[in-house]
Amino acid sequence: MDRSSHHRPRRIVPFVAVAAAAALTLAGCSSGSGGKKSEDGADASSTGKASTPRMTVALVTHQAPGDTFWDIVRKGAEAAAAKDNVKLIYSADPNAGNQANLVQNAIDQKVDGIAITLAKPDALKSVIGKATKAGIPVVGINSGLSDWKDLGLLEFFGQDESVAGEAFGKKLNEVGAKNTVCVIHEQGNVGLTQRCDGLKKTFEGKTQILNVNGVDMPSVKSTITAKLKQDSAIDYVATLGAPFAPTAVQSVGDAGSKAKVATFDLNKDLTKAIQAGDIEFAVDQQPYLQGYLAIDGLWLYENNGNYSGGGEQPVLTGPAFVDKSNVDAVSEYAAKGTR
C-alpha cells in the first residue's frame, strides 16, 4: 500500500502527457483553415523520360546549409536529371577547399559530367584541370561569369551578381527611389557585396550598406528598424535574400517609416507579399533554370555534341523582375518551391 502510493505520482506524469496529447488529437484540435490539407496536391508535371543510356552527373555548389536559393537550384537539377535519365550526385560546401575536394571525389567516381559553381575560381582551378584531363566535361553555373572560359569550362549558365545589382539599381531609378539601404545578411559574402556594389553603380540616389545578423531574425528586424530611425530619408530597403524582405516590411512598420521594400531572389511567401503590395518587386535570377540547364546541357553534349551558348557565350538566366504586373504568372511555381 505504502509502495504503490509512493509510485503513483511518478507513473501518472507520462500517462497524463500521453492522454493529453491523445485528447488534443482526437477532440477536434484540427485547424479549420490553412495547413497541409488546404494545400493543393498539384505536384510536378509528369514529364517523359529520355531513352538515352544512363549517365552520372555531379553537381557541386558552394551552398551554405539551409539556404532556400540553393534548394531551388537543386530542384531544377533534379527535374532535368529525372527527364534525361541521369543519376545526379549533389554535394556542396561553402569552403572553397572543401568544394575542390568534392569535385575530386566526383572525378574519382568517374562521373560523366560535372556542374560546378565558381564562387572562388582560383581555388578550383587545379581540380577543374584534373577533370578536363580525365575527359570529364565541366559546366559552370551561378557564379563565375568572368572566369569560366579561362578555366576551360564547356558552358556557363547563370548571371553575374554585379549584373543583377546593376539591374536592381536601374529599376530603383525607374520607380523614383532617392535613398536606399542595401541589407547584407552575411557579412563578408562576396556575392552579396557584389550585388550591393552593382546597385550602387547604377542607382542615381544615395546608397548605404547595412550588415545584419542573418541567422537571427529578431536581430535582423531590430537592426533594420534602427537604420530607418537613424536616417528617416531612406525610401527603399533592398534585401539580398527572399526571407529577409518580409522582415524588412515589419521593420518599416515598427520604425513608422514610409520606405518601400524590394529584394533579390524569390520564394512562395514573397510572391504573396508582392500580390498584397507589401513588397514592390523582386529580381530573380531563376535558380531553377540554372540547375536544370546545367544538367540538360551536359546531357545534350554527351548525346548530341551540342554546346549551349555555342561554347563562346554564357547562357543568362537572369535578372528577371517579378512585380505586381507579372507575379500571378509566377506564384503558382513559387508555391511549389521551383521559382
Binding site: 502527457a17 493529453a20 496529447a21 488534443l24 488529437t25 484540435c29 484540427s30 485547424s31 479549420g32 483553415s33 490553412g34 495547413g35 497541409k36 490539407k37 488546404s38 494545400e39 551554405a64 546549409p65 539551409g66 539556404d67 532556400t68 534548394d71 547584407i184 557579412q187 550598406i209 547595412l210 550588415n211 545578423n213 542573418g214 541567422v215 537571427d216 531574425m217 529578431p218 536581430s219 528586424k221 531590430s222 537592426t223 528598424t225 534602427a226 537604420k227 530611425k229 537613424q230 536616417d231 526571407p243 518580409p246 522582415t247 515589419q250 515598427d254 520604425a255 513608422g256 520564394n267 512562395k268 511567401d269 504573396k272 518551391g337
Partner: protein, 358 residues
Amino acid sequence: MSMTRQAEPAVTPPPAPGPKETDGRTARRTPARRLLARPEVGVFLGVVVVLVFFLIAAPPMRDSSSMANILYQSSTIGIMALPVALLMIGGEVDLSAGVAVVTSALTASMLAYQLSMNVWVGVIAALAVSLAVGMFNGWFLMKTGLPSFLVTLGTFLILQGINLAVTKTVTGNVATDDISDMDGFAQAQALFASSFELGGVQVKITIVWWLVFAALAAWVLLRTKYGNWIFAVGGNKESARAVGVPVNLTKISLYMLVGFGAWFVGMHQLFSFNTVQSGEGVGQELIYIAAAVIGGCLMTGGYGSAIGPVFGAFMFGMVQQGIVYAGWNPDWFKAFLGVMLLGAVLINLWVQRTATRR
C-alpha cells in the same frame, strides 16, 4: 537545509551578502566593497558607460521608441541568456542552445501544418521536444562524465543536421510553410509575439516576459534550496554530492531549463515571422554565452547572478543597435562588439579583484 549550508564553502564567494555576515571572512569589508562583490555590479557600470556614450554619439537613441527597439533585440537574447547563465553557474555550457531555438520553432510549425492541427498542438509538442533535448544533454553528460563542451557540440551538430534534413524531407523546401492563417495562430501570437502601447511607444511583449523570467530566476537562485544546489554543483561537484546535493537532478534540470528558454524564443520567432528557415540559429549559442559572461558569470561555474545576464543582453542589444543609430561604418560592427565584450569582462575582473582584496 543544514546540508546546503555545509556546501557553501565550496562556493567562492557567496552569492549574496546575507543578513548577518559576521563569520570573519567578510567582517572587515566595507558596505561599498560588499556591493562591488555582487556579480552584476561590473556589468551595470559597463552598461551605464556604454549608454551614456551612445546617447552622446547617436542622437536617434535618445528617442524612447529606439530604446523599445533595443530592448526588444535584447529580450530575445536575454530570455535565452538567463537559463544559459544559470547553467554556467551550475558549471556547464550548452553549445546547442542556438540551433535548439530553431529546432523548437520548426517542430511546432511543421507538426501543426502537416497534420493541419490547431497551432497549439505544435506549440505543446515543441515544448516536449525542447525539454527532451535538454534532458538528453544533461543525462548524457552525467552518464558519460564527458565535458559539456563535447556533449553539447555533438548535440549542436545533430540538431543542425536534423533541422535541415527533416525540414527538407517534410516540407520539400528548406523553410517551413506559412502558418499565419491557421487556427490558434492569433492567440499564440498574442502570447509570444504581440506588442502593446506604453506612453505612445510600441513595446514588444518579449520584453515583459524577459523581465518576468529574470525576476523568477533571481528569486530561485537567491531564495530557494534549488538555487543553492546550482551554486554548489557549479562550485565543486564532488563536495556538493558528498553533502547530499542531488547533482544529477540539478544539472539535468538546468539543461531542461535551457530547453524551455529555447522553446520560448523559438515560439516568438515562429509567431513573429510566420515561417522558419532551417539554417538559422547557428552561432547564436555564443551570443547567449557572451551575454552571460558579460553579465558576470564565470566560465568555471559557481559564481554569477540572474540580474547580470539581463544587463549583459541589454549591453549586447545596445551595442549592436547603437552602432547603427550612430550611422557608423557597419564593416566594423563585429570588431566593435568584440572590443566591448573584452572591455566588459575586464571591468568584471577588476571589480571582483577590488572587491575581494582585503
